[in-house]
C-alpha cells in the first residue's frame, strides 16, 4: 500500500516535469510583457502615492521664484485637491495676487481667474504658472499614467537611494511634454525626479523632489514636499514649491471645481 502510494507520487512527479517545462516555455515569451506591466505598475503606484495621499486634502504651499540665484518672488497658495482631474489653487500672498485662482475642472480643462478683472480665462496645461518654471500641469496634474505610456529603463541610484528609472512617452501630441524620464524610489514608490523633454527630444526642465525631515504636518512619511524645478531657459533660475501644511480628508462641495463658480467665491 505504502509502496503503491510512493509509486503514485513518483509517477505524478515524473509527469510533472514536462508539465512544468511546458509552463515555463509558455511564460518565456511573456517576459517582455511582464516588464511592461511592471513599468505600468510602478507608474501607477507612484501616481497612487501622490494622488491617493492628497485626495480630498487641502495643501498650503509656498512658491519661491529664484532669479540669478536670488529669491525674487514669494507666493503662497492653497491647493484644494479632490482627485487627479479636479484641483483648485488659490493665491493667498502677495496681496497683489491675492484671490487669483487656477482651476483644473476635468482632463485638460484649465482655467485662470483674475479677480482684478473679475474674469475667468481658459489656459493651457503648458502655460507657465505665475511666471515660474512650473507649468499648470506640473502643479495641478500629478497623475502621469493617464497621459503617458511608461517603459522601464532599469534601476539606478539617485541621491543614494535605489530607484526605478522610467521613460514615459506622451500618448498624444496634446500632452505638454513629449517624454519624461522619471525616477521612482523603490522602497515606497514616491517619485524623486522628473526630466521633461520636448517633442524635439531636447531637455526642457528638471523637477527634483525631496521629503523634509521632520515631515510636513499632515503629510505621510516619506512623501516629497519640496519640489525644485529648473529650466534650460535660464541657468540661474529655479522655482521651489514647498508644502507647508497638508490637511487630509477635507472634502469639498462639488461646485468648488466648476469654472462657472470661480467668480462667486
Amino acid at each position: 500500500m505504502q509502496q503503491k502510494r510512493c509509486t503514485k507520487r513518483r509517477g505524478w512527479g515524473i509527469r510533472a516535469v514536462p508539465l512544468i517545462g511546458m509552463l515555463l516555455m509558455a511564460f518565456v515569451p511573456l517576459a517582455g510583457l511582464a516588464e511592461e506591466i511592471t513599468a505600468l505598475q510602478i507608474l501607477d503606484r507612484a501616481d497612487d502615492q501622490w494622488d491617493l495621499n492628497l485626495r480630498n486634502a487641502t495643501v498650503e504651499l509656498e512658491f519661491l521664484v529664484y532669479r540669478e540665484n536670488a529669491l525674487r518672488k514669494t507666493y503662497r497658495m492653497t491647493l484644494k485637491y479632490q482627485d487627479t482631474d479636479h484641483v483648485l489653487a488659490e493665491t493667498t500672498f502677495p496681496p497683489r495676487n491675492e484671490g487669483e485662482k487656477m482651476l483644473q475642472a476635468g482632463r485638460k480643462n484649465y482655467w485662470l481667474f483674475l479677480p482684478n478683472i473679475n474674469r475667468a480665462v481658459r489656459i493651457s496645461e503648458s502655460n507657465s504658472l505665475s511666471n515660474s518654471d512650473f507649468s499648470n500641469t506640473d502643479l495641478l496634474s500629478p497623475r502621469l499614467s493617464k497621459e503617458y505610456t511608461p517603459k522601464l529603463l532599469g534601476s539606478e541610484k539617485l541621491r543614494d537611494e535605489d530607484t526605478y528609472k522610467l521613460e514615459l512617452s506622451a500618448r498624444d501630441e496634446s500632452t505638454a511634454y513629449a517624454r519624461i524620464i522619471y525616477w521612482v524610489r523603490k522602497t515606497d514608490y514616491f517619485p524623486l525626479r522628473r526630466d521633461f523633454y520636448t517633442f524635439s527630444q531636447q531637455l526642457l526642465k528638471r523637477l527634483d523632489m525631496k521629503a523634509s525631515s521632520p515631515a510636513v504636518a499632515g503629510a505621510p512619511h516619506g512623501m516629497p514636499d519640496t519640489f525644485v524645478m529648473s529650466s534650460v531657459l535660464e541657468r540661474d533660475k529655479k522655482t521651489v514649491v514647498r508644502y507647508v501644511k497638508v490637511t487630509p480628508g477635507t472634502g469639498f462641495p462639488p461646485e468648488t471645481f466648476r469654472e462657472s463658480a470661480l467668480m462667486k467665491r
Partner: protein, 407 residues
C-alpha cells in the same frame, strides 16, 4: 466789356491789387501744396511699408483676426506652399510668400522673455519685400541656413545677446505640447510695424518644424508689380479664392499699416482746416479790396449811374473785378504749386527723419492731388465773387446824387 473795365479798374491801384494777388497766390499755393504733399506722403509711406513689411495685401484665414491671440495656430491655412504658388501666378503679382505667426519664450541662457514670432519663406520674402532688408539694424537678414534667428533690436538688448550668440526658443505646438529648438542670432531688426521688444523671426521651415504644423501658414503676403493695380489685384485674388469656397479673407495695406488710415485722415482734416483758414483770409483780402474800391470810387459810380448805367451793371462790374482777382491768383497759385511740386519731386523729394527708434528715413515725392487742386483753384474764384458781393451791392445801391456829392 465789363471784364475789360474790371481789369482796367484793378490796374488803377496796382500796389493794392498786387498785394491782394500775392495773398491769394500764397493761399492757393499752400492749399494745393499741402494737398500734393499729403498725396505724395500717403503714396510713398504706403509704398515704403508695402516694400518693407506688409506687402500690397495679405491673405489669411477668415477668423484669423478674431482668434489670432487665443488660437494663433488653429486659424492657419493648410497647403500653404500650394496657396503661395497659386497666388504668385495671378496677374500683377510680383511675388508672394507664406508667413507663420506664433508666440513663445526666447532665452539667452541667462534671461528669458515672451516673444511674438514669425516664420518667413526667406527667398520669396526677398522677392516680395524689396526694402525688407532696410529694417536690419545689425548683422544680416535670414538666409537658407537652418537655425538662424532675427530678433527685434530691443529684445536682443534685453536678453543681452549679440550677433552669433545662441538662443533657445520654446513654443506650444499646433497640438498643444511644448517644443524647443536652439538657434543663432544672425541679425537684429527695427521698424514701425512691429514692437521691437518682442519681435522674433526665423525661417518658415524651421518654424513649421518647431510648431509641428506641416506646411500651414498664417498669412500669404503678396507683392504688386504696380501700386495702382493693387485694388484690382485684390478683387481678382478674392474672386479666385471665393470660387474654391475657402474661408480666406484679404487685408489691404491701408489696414495692415499701423495708424496709416488714422494718420492720413488726420492730415486731411489738418489740410481742410488750413484751407478753411486761408478761405477766410483770402476772402477777407478780396472783400477789403472791393470795399476800398467802392469807397474810393463813389463819385465814379455816381457818374456811371447818372450816365444811365443800370444797378445790375454796376454790381456786375464789381463782381467781375473780384472774379478777375480770383482767376489771376488761382491760375498763378496753381502754376506755382505745380512747378514747385514737380521741382521737389524731381530733385530727390523731401527727406523725413526716421521715426523714433527706427533707422529708415521716409522720402516724400509730392504728387498732384486733383481734389485739392480743384479746391485750391475754385476757392479764390468763389471767395472773390462772394467777398465782392457786398461791396458790389452797396455800390449798385448808391444814390447817384449822393455819390456825386461825395468828397
Amino acid at each position: 466789356m465789363i471784364l475789360q473795365l474790371a481789369f482796367k479798374n484793378l490796374l488803377r491801384n496796382r500796389r493794392r491789387t498786387l498785394l491782394t494777388e500775392v495773398s491769394i497766390i500764397f493761399g492757393v499755393l499752400v492749399i494745393i501744396g499741402t494737398g500734393n504733399f499729403i498725396n505724395g506722403m500717403q503714396r510713398d509711406w504706403a509704398k515704403f511699408e508695402i516694400d518693407s513689411s506688409t506687402g500690397a495685401f495679405q491673405v489669411e484665414h477668415r477668423d484669423y483676426q478674431d482668434l489670432r491671440k487665443s488660437e494663433t495656430l488653429k486659424v492657419t491655412m493648410g497647403s500653404g506652399a500650394e496657396l503661395v504658388e497659386r497666388i504668385g501666378k495671378m496677374p500683377n503679382v510680383r511675388a508672394a510668400f507664406g508667413k507663420l505667426n506664433f508666440s513663445g519664450m526666447v532665452s539667452s541662457g541667462l534671461k528669458s522673455t515672451f516673444f511674438d514670432g514669425r516664420g518667413v519663406d526667406v527667398a520669396r520674402q526677398k522677392q516680395t519685400l524689396s526694402r525688407q532688408e532696410d529694417l536690419i539694424v545689425a548683422g544680416k537678414s535670414l538666409d537658407e541656413t537652418a537655425g538662424g534667428v532675427i530678433l527685434g533690436e530691443d529684445l536682443a538688448a534685453m536678453l543681452g545677446i549679440r550677433i552669433g550668440d545662441p538662443v533657445t526658443i520654446v513654443v506650444r505646438t499646433f497640438h498643444g505640447g511644448l517644443n524647443l529648438t536652439y538657434g543663432t542670432l544672425v541679425g537684429t531688426k527695427n521698424g514701425r510695424h512691429f514692437p521691437s521688444t518682442i519681435y522674433l523671426e526665423m525661417r518658415l521651415e524651421d518654424a513649421q518644424r518647431l510648431l509641428r504644423v506641416g506646411d500651414r501658414v498664417s498669412q500669404v503676403v503678396v507683392g504688386a508689380t504696380d501700386f495702382n493695380a493693387i485694388p484690382g489685384m485684390m478683387r481678382h485674388v478674392e474672386a479666385a479664392l471665393r470660387t474654391d469656397s475657402i474661408p480666406y479673407a484679404l487685408r489691404g495695406y491701408a489696414e495692415l499699416i499701423p495708424i496709416y488710415a488714422q494718420a492720413i485722415a488726420s492730415f486731411k482734416v489738418i489740410s481742410a482746416a488750413v484751407g478753411f483758414v486761408l478761405f477766410i483770409l483770402v476772402g477777407g483780402g478780396i472783400g477789403n479790396v472791393m470795399a476800398m474800391a467802392v469807397m474810393e470810387r463813389k463819385r465814379e459810380i455816381g457818374t456811371l449811374r447818372a450816365l444811365g448805367m443800370e444797378k445790375n451793371q454796376v454790381r456786375r462790374l464789381f463782381l467781375a473785378e473780384g472774379l478777375v482777382i480770383g482767376v489771376i491768383g488761382a491760375a498763378a497759385g496753381l502754376a506755382l504749386a505745380s512747378v514747385l511740386t514737380v521741382f521737389i519731386a524731381s530733385h530727390g523729394g523731401i527727406h523725413l527723419p526716421p521715426a523714433p527708434g527706427t533707422t529708415q528715413e521716409l522720402i516724400i515725392f509730392p504728387q498732384m492731388d486733383p481734389f485739392m487742386s480743384v479746391f485750391g483753384v475754385s476757392m479764390p474764384l468763389l471767395v472773390g465773387v462772394v467777398a465782392a458781393w457786398w461791396p458790389a451791392s452797396r455800390s449798385a445801391n448808391l444814390n447817384p446824387v449822393d455819390a456825386l456829392a461825395e468828397d
